[in-house]
């Protein structure tokens, strides 16, 4: 397992380096160059030249990239003149909130999707299966902001029990202090996730229920409940752990839309407003951080998988 972890870590590192190259390239493809994109339309030619010199943008590409990476390593993601704030600071304020939203809705999604998928697999091709499958497909086909709006209409207009807007706290603690406001954004983000996860759990469980070891378990006279819960569920859920990692990019994309819709003060909203204002330092900084978060999340999921599945955990260490 140690070797597996080292290899997986190396891969993650390579991907992060590639991501920095991608953001670096985009930075230099910006209209008018990196300086114009950073300083805005009003900057004078002298200001631009001074900025280029200060950032080393007048040097050869390789050197520029090395400097870029060195700045990143020092936590310097650039400066947003539009927010009058360093990018690192702007992201630092919002990252925890986005992570909290993503984590909460993932938790909610897993808690909902596992029983749904299991019910579907054990009642395969009967009405519970068909019903849940149809609903998942419907959830998947609905644009997430339309879904969120339906929620707002239902739960804060027709039946006003929840606020239509996310909590506006500055810190994570302030946001979490208003759980009612968190409900709609979290649930909206979770619904699509549930649709994807439950389909996955279903097919994984169906595959496992057809395995020979399940027949062996039944031959021991175990109750159906024990067969499903004790024998099949564990094996059926292992692949879902990997899905948690693989699904992160889609989850963050969803968070971008949800944050914009509910005015949730997270990274997605920051990114959205930056996009409308063409605030490129923020755009690139967020892109980089969200990608690194994705890579780390996937890495974490794989490590978790390796830790719980004995087939991976015990590989190589022969008895």
């Amino acid at each position: 397992m140690a070797r597996y972890l080292i290899v997986r870590l190396g891969q993650a590192l390579v991907i992060v380096v590639l991501v920095t190259i991608i953001t670096f390239v985009i930075l230099h493809l910006l209209p008018g160059g990196a300086a114009r994109a950073t300083l805005g339309k009003e900057a004078t030619l002298e200001q631009l030249a001074a900025f280029d010199h200060e950032m080393g943008y007048d040097r050869p590409w390789i050197q520029q990239y090395v400097m870029y990476v060195r700045r990143l390593l020092h936590g310097d993601l650039g400066y947003s003149f539009q927010l009058n704030q360093s990018v690192t600071e702007a992201i630092g304020q919002r990252l925890p909130k986005t992570m909290a939203l993503s984590l909460l809705s993932t938790l909610l999604a897993v808690v909902a999707a596992v029983p749904l998928g299991v019910v579907q697999a054990t009642r395969r091709n009967r009405w519970p299966d068909y019903t849940i499958t149809s609903l998942s497909l419907l959830a998947y086909a609905t644009p997430i902001f339309f879904l969120g709006l339906m929620m707002i209409i239902l739960f804060s207009q027709v039946w006003p029990i929840l606020p239509p807007e996310a909590p506006q706290g500055f810190t994570l603690g302030e946001v979490l202090a208003d759980p009612a406001g968190l409900v709609l954004p979290t649930v909206t983000l979770a619904v699509v996730t549930v649709a994807v996860y439950s389909r996955y759990v279903r097919s994984s469980m169906v595959d496992n229920l057809n395995e020979n070891y399940v027949r062996t378990a039944r031959s021991k006279g175990l109750s159906e409940r024990r067969v499903v819960v004790l024998h099949t569920l564990r094996n059926g859920l292992f692949p879902v752990i990997t899905l948690l990692g693989m699904y992160l990019p889609a989850l963050f994309s969803g968070a971008l839309v949800v944050e914009s819709l509910f005015n949730f003060p997270g990274m997605g909203q920051l990114f959205w407003q930056a996009a409308l204002k063409r605030d490129f330092p923020i755009l690139l900084g967020v892109t980089l951080i969200i990608s690194v978060a994705t890579v780390l999340g996937a890495l974490l999921a794989d490590i978790l998988y390796a830790a719980v599945d004995p087939r991976v955990r015990l590989r190589g260490s022969a008895s």
Partner: protein, 308 residues
């Protein structure tokens, strides 16, 4: 009784006997595939939904003429049914039904074009990586991994902020970054097909790699690629909607369902429901349609491999 007479007539060992293959009628794979597709009711529903929506959007304007270029501030927010506007008008006086047709054209064209573009690019990339193997493969796939770890909507937004979106630009942006999924899929497929025994059989006859690709790998991989393409189209339509919602879609007077829907959001609380639900439902229907078609196609392609 126990006369061995019947044994003489039977050239035992070489007679094929009443084999399965002899008494059923000959049917081509395409026909079998079509039959299976047609057995899947949802797939037929999906196909019908797509044909209907496309017909309304592309043929509808030939019979139902509306002005979608000039605003008419005298006729804003007319409710459905008011003179000549069966679905009412929007905030600048465009006829909502006519606008739905126009928007549908954009959504369908962008979805199809971006989906196909992504599929083509991804297929080529994945196939090259899969066949080259070794370092080329590793480098190409690490790049895919890296790009995949950037959430796509962030990437689309970033690009849309750099260039001014138009219909063709949207197709390019989405198509140029949605190919990662197909690339992975095709590479995996190429790797698994390459090790199949029928490829080995062909090689043992002296066949070349080119023949393996032409005669064996492409025909067997094409199903997976086509099925995936339908899902790509569905995703592309959703992406267009998201970009529009986030304010980076096609600018007016061009329209698309996503843009109309996000415009409608603003009207939610003023009671103009006809601006919200029709485009929303249209998007759901078209995305569902492509998902149903994809599922049906998957069955249809799989049946060819089904062994008795």
């Amino acid at each position: 009784m126990t006369t061995p007479a019947e044994t003489t007539g039977m050239s035992e060992g070489t007679s094929p006997g009443p084999g399965d293959a002899d008494d059923t009628p000959v049917r081509g794979l395409w026909r079998q595939g079509v039959e299976v597709f047609c057995e899947n009711r949802l797939a037929l529903v999906g196909l019908a939904m797509f044909v209907l929506l496309a017909a309304v959007c592309f043929l509808g304007p030939l019979f139902y003429h509306t002005d979608q270029v000039h605003t008419d501030l005298a006729a804003v927010h007319l409710p459905p049914g008011t003179d000549g506007h069966p679905l009412g008008t929007d905030g600048v006086g465009y006829d909502q039904l006519g606008r739905l047709m126009l928007g549908g054209q954009t959504s369908i064209i962008v979805g199809l074009a971006a989906g196909i573009l992504a599929t083509v690019v991804g297929t080529v990339w994945g196939a090259v990586a899969g066949f080259a193997g070794g370092w080329v493969d590793a480098a190409m796939m690490r790049l895919v991994d890296a790009m995949m770890s950037i959430p796509s909507l962030f990437l689309f937004m970033l690009l849309a902020a750099i260039v001014t979106p138009s219909v063709s630009m949207l197709i390019l942006i989405i198509g140029a970054f949605a190919w990662l999924g197909p690339a992975r899929l095709v590479r995996g497929e190429a790797l698994s097909l390459r090790s199949r025994e029928y490829i080995q059989a062909m090689r043992s006859m002296g066949g070349t790699g080119g023949r393996a690709v032409r005669r064996h790998i492409i025909p067997n991989a094409i199903g997976t690629v086509i099925v995936n393409a339908t899902f790509q189209v569905a995703d592309a339509i959703l992406y267009v909607a998201y970009l529009s919602f986030l304010g980076l879609g096609v600018p007016p007077p061009a329209a698309n369902w996503g843009g109309m829907l996000s415009d409608g959001l603003a009207d939610t609380f003023s009671g103009h429901w006809w601006l919200l639900y029709p485009p929303g439902i249209a998007i759901i229907l078209i995305v569902l349609a492509f998902n149903f078609i994809g599922d049906g196609l998957r069955d249809a392609f799989e049946v060819r491999l089904r062994r008795r």
